[in-house]
Point group: C2
Chain length 215, copies 2
């Protein structure tokens, strides 16, 4: 019985503020989804990962369904904020903005094995649950329209004459495709390698603004 030393002043307090506890449970849910998959994610397992009782999980989230949909919303919002901030930090040139959006998707902070696996779990269930489909779809709708706009401006600026809708779609599906690779392959290639693959697509579309890097 080596309970954490009661004298340790750094030990987290037994009770926590509502928001802190909720975020902790959501992070535990992401970990559990990644480790066991959607079908084997139980409240008891999430609670164990978070180091609390399963009753407390329901105290904060009412139902399992609600916990999962809030977790998805959390991931979607995290994703949105990530590329929004990257876009704001990038230069005004369309090529800089396009590159910023691409690189944002491979930011080590959000492109972790656990988060990718959690996304994949939700995709697998989304088809049969309109609630999830909405979250996944909204995430993409915003991203897509900005991406199309950026591609349109870059195409105009460089005189490429590309159709922005199809160009943006190609880049977006390339990103989702390498994500799927990173998730489902037994020994996936590096995140850097994944980024290069997408940048290769951009270089093929806009050769004067992107270079074909080799991993």
């Amino acid at each position: 019985m080596t309970e954490a030393c009661d004298s340790d002043p750094a030990r987290p307090p037994r009770t926590m503020s509502r928001d802190v506890r909720r975020q902790q449970v959501i992070e535990a849910t992401i970990e559990t989804l990644a480790a066991h998959g959607y079908a084997r994610t139980t409240l008891t397992q999430v609670a164990r990962t978070a180091g609390i009782s399963h009753g407390l999980v329901l105290f904060h989230f009412d139902t399992k369904e609600n916990l999962l949909s809030e977790t998805l919303a959390y991931l979607a919002e995290e994703y949105r904020r990530n590329w929004t901030e990257a876009l704001a930090a990038a230069g005004p040139a369309p090529s800089d903005q396009l590159n910023a959006m691409i690189e944002a998707d491979f930011n080590p902070r959000i492109c972790t094995p656990a988060r990718l696996a959690a996304w994949c779990s939700f995709w697998g269930e989304a088809q049969s649950r309109p609630l999830y489909q909405a979250s996944c779809g909204d995430k993409d709708d915003a991203y897509t329209s900005i991406l199309e706009d950026t591609c349109a401006r870059l195409s105009d600026e460089g005189g490429y004459g590309r159709d922005p809708v199809h160009t943006a779609r190609l880049i977006r599906v390339a990103i989702e495709g390498v994500w799927l690779d990173l998730m489902t392959m037994a020994t996936p290639y590096a995140r850097e390698e994944a980024l290069c693959t997408v940048q290769m697509a951009a270089a093929l579309c806009f050769p004067d603004h992107f270079e074909m890097r080799k991993a």
Copy 2:
């Protein structure tokens, strides 16, 4: 006791009836996965879809786990045979072969909503189940190496100087990405439109051999 002579065509089709029933159950499993998602796929639901008792499902497949992994193997084999046959039917030119492999992935027979949804269900669980990961991975390994070889020959023939590994990967992730679109979008674009997106990627890589069609 001699095994039923499944090699003897004159014999009454006792074993064949067994195979027919098994395939029927597997098709019902695919339907159920698509309609309810992996987590809500129960033996009772599969049995109801197939119009039999749930005891019979277990009679033929022993365990639920086994039913699901056999369903995945069935899908993987169906996928493999589809592109293999397409390749055999195509002309010998690398560009014909590449186009055949791409078009095969959008063959209406395998690119149905139910099958795409079933694939997605398995992807969502594969991360936490080495058994599934093997089936998904093997499927891709064979496809990838042929695709890389075809890209290499096409690149040589046309003097494109493309790196076959990265080019093949881009085309493959584009395919997987549009598949994911078709699965997760509330109102996805047409299958024909998806095919065009992938062919656009091929046209960017090999402009003298593919044309940029507009949907």
